[in-house]
């Protein structure tokens, strides 16, 4: 295949475009996302992250430009069902997403409506429940799950559609630290299994495992690159009001105090490795 998995060409999106108070949310975005890529999107509230996410599976149709999924423009209504099967969305508040009263029915709902045959349906539902560690909850009501379980259920329901890509719009924002870690570990496993991940987050430490991060500002891409490259741009990040991941913030402070640390340190493990090797360097 010569076309990229997702290609965004000159994408602009304006809310209330037809009125006298249009609100431009995205301006002339160009971006490609490769099959199996793990992409993280950060930026302010109101910078256009969620709008961009909603353009990825045709929930929003570009005001200008094109979004092509596997070569198919989201503008093409006939392609919307396959596009939404390929690109699954998981929102921040899963309660808004649930439609049934039993966990396993919730997971089955999407593929069942697509007419997936019985045996295949059973297999997909079971796989999704097992992958998200919800098997023992399958007979419960989604209402009675904890926030972390609900987030995983929203992911399970999307996985049962057998997508090529998961788009997560701040799906960890409401979670406790352990549930958040579980969801992140799940995303990494799914990524290793070949799924593309597009994850929007405000937690800078969640960006670290991504292949690439884009920083949105006022509807445009202000910065992009590997997490290491992006988090090395301290001045730009400061200007955009974004944080460094904690280990990177500590490394930056220590470097300013004269401790010999390489730029681009991101994780606790890296910090430990450099500080325990270079012990005494500052003395």
């Amino acid at each position: 295949m010569d076309h990229p998995f997702i290609r965004i060409e000159n994408l602009s999106y304006t809310y209330n475009a037809q009125t006298d108070a249009p609100i431009p949310a995205l301006r002339q975005i160009n971006l490609t996302i490769a099959r199996g890529e793990y992409l993280s999107i950060v930026g302010h509230n109101g910078s256009g992250k969620s709008t961009l996410a909603k353009c990825l599976n045709g929930l929003l149709i570009p005001t200008e430009g094109e979004v092509l999924i596997d070569g198919q423009p989201t503008r093409n209504e006939d392609a919307l069902i396959p596009i939404r099967t390929q690109v699954g969305m998981v929102f921040q508040n899963p309660d808004n997403q649930f439609v049934t009263t039993v966990v396993e029915d919730e997971v089955a709902f999407g593929p069942e409506n697509l007419g997936v045959p019985r045996d295949e349906l059973r297999r997909r539902v079971d796989d999704a429940l097992i992958a998200t560690h919800l098997w023992e909850w399958r007979k419960h009501s989604p209402r009675h799950l904890s926030a972390g379980q609900k987030a995983r259920l929203a992911i399970a329901a999307t996985l049962a559609m057998a997508p090529d890509c998961l788009v997560l719009d701040e799906s960890t924002a409401m979670l406790d630290p352990v549930s958040r870690r579980n969801v992140l570990a799940l995303l990494q496993t799914l990524h290793q299994d070949g799924l593309a991940i597009v994850a929007i987050t405000h937690f800078m430490e969640e960006v670290v495992p991504a292949d690439r991060v884009i920083v949105m500002e006022r509807g445009q891409i202000a910065l992009q690159g590997t997490p290491r490259d992006v988090f090395a741009q301290h001045e730009t990040l400061d200007r955009l009001g974004l944080n460094l991941p904690p280990a990177a913030a500590i490394a930056r402070g220590l470097r300013q105090r004269g401790i010999d640390l390489p730029p681009g340190l991101l994780t606790t493990q890296e910090l430990v490795r450099h500080l325990t090797q270079g012990k005494g360097a500052g003395a």
Binding site: N45, H144, S146, Q149, A173, M174, D176, L242, P246, G253
Partner: protein, 286 residues
């Protein structure tokens, strides 16, 4: 320090006497002291949000348990719940569930109007509440509630609660979903409310970094029970016990522990990034 809210042995079962009965609280306790920023933490499903409902009489103790908030015993059917709801302001997790008027100004004015204040007093209160949360009065007063961004919605919901002039402000995940700058602004605002307006604050948070940054004292809830209570630094000093209750240290705390395990003789008390940086610097230059 004066205790303004004391909750003891709180129990609550959702859908009790049905096959779907779920135990939310089984012996939870919480105390809030005048003038502090207190934090309530615990893994999701621990019962944090349910416990908050006992603070202003949305839920009341029945057979067991005791709640005393601003000298009102809510277990007593004659307690003045109306007065209590004015004193205790609850800001919920999802601001859009709290906003219901079409225009921002009307939404914030709803409480004071119910209290029967004059038009001028209401306008003055709305203006104060909006300026306090950083929503410019002229710009936002006539805005449609649902045209607000996530951060603005949170501020509007907070302003609506502040307009009731509460003495205790309770926030359920006040900064979840906000960008780092928005989070810092809310932190600044909460400190301002406590220091300048004398409002006591209880926040429920899943963000241990935020708790380390803001809170004087922490209560840990796990499976419906209160399992730890104390000064923030004391609670975060017991990493093993927190882990047993499915909680982490603040990121800075996890980092200094990892450094110690890696062989650096660093002090383990750091709970913020600035403290960790200082502790590591001390260890490196000793």
């Amino acid at each position: 320090m004066t205790v303004i809210a004391e909750l003891q042995d709180i129990r609550h079962v959702y859908l009790s006497n049905t096959p779907l009965a779920t135990v939310a609280l089984q012996g939870a306790a919480l105390s809030v002291h005048q003038g502090e920023i207190a934090a309530l933490v615990g893994p999701s499903g621990a019962g944090k949000s349910t416990l908050l409902h006992f603070l202003n009489g949305l839920l009341r103790p029945r057979a067991t348990g005791h709640v005393c908030v601003f000298d009102q015993d809510t277990g007593d059917p004659h307690s003045d719940i109306v007065a209590l709801r004015q004193q205790v302001g609850l800001v919920f997790q999802y601001p859009h569930q709290q906003l219901f008027e079409r225009f921002v100004g009307d939404d914030i004015a709803y409480g004071p109007r119910q209290q029967g204040h004059s038009h001028e007093q209401v306008t003055e209160t709305v203006r104060w509440a909006m300026q306090t949360v950083g929503l410019d009065f002229e710009t936002f007063v006539d805005r449609h509630t649902f045209s607000l961004s996530g951060g603005e919605m949170r501020r509007a919901a907070l302003a609506g609660v502040l307009a009731m002039r509460p003495q205790l402000l309770v926030l359920d995940e006040a900064t979840a979903g906000l960008d780092p700058r928005g989070r810092r602004e809310i932190h600044h605002l909460l400190r301002h409310l406590r220091d300048e307006e004398g409002i006591t604050i209880l926040l429920v948070s899943n963000d241990m970094d935020e708790v380390a940054e803001l809170a004087d004292r922490v209560t840990v809830l796990h499976e419906g029970q209160t399992v730890m209570q104390g000064l923030t630094r004391e609670v975060f000093a017991d990493r093993q016990r927190l882990a047993a209750h499915d909680l982490d240290l603040p990121a800075a705390g996890e980092i200094v522990h990892a450094l110690r395990e890696g062989g650096l003789a660093v002090d383990l008390g750091a709970i913020t990034v600035a403290e960790a940086e200082e502790a590591i610097w001390q260890a490196m230059t000793r």
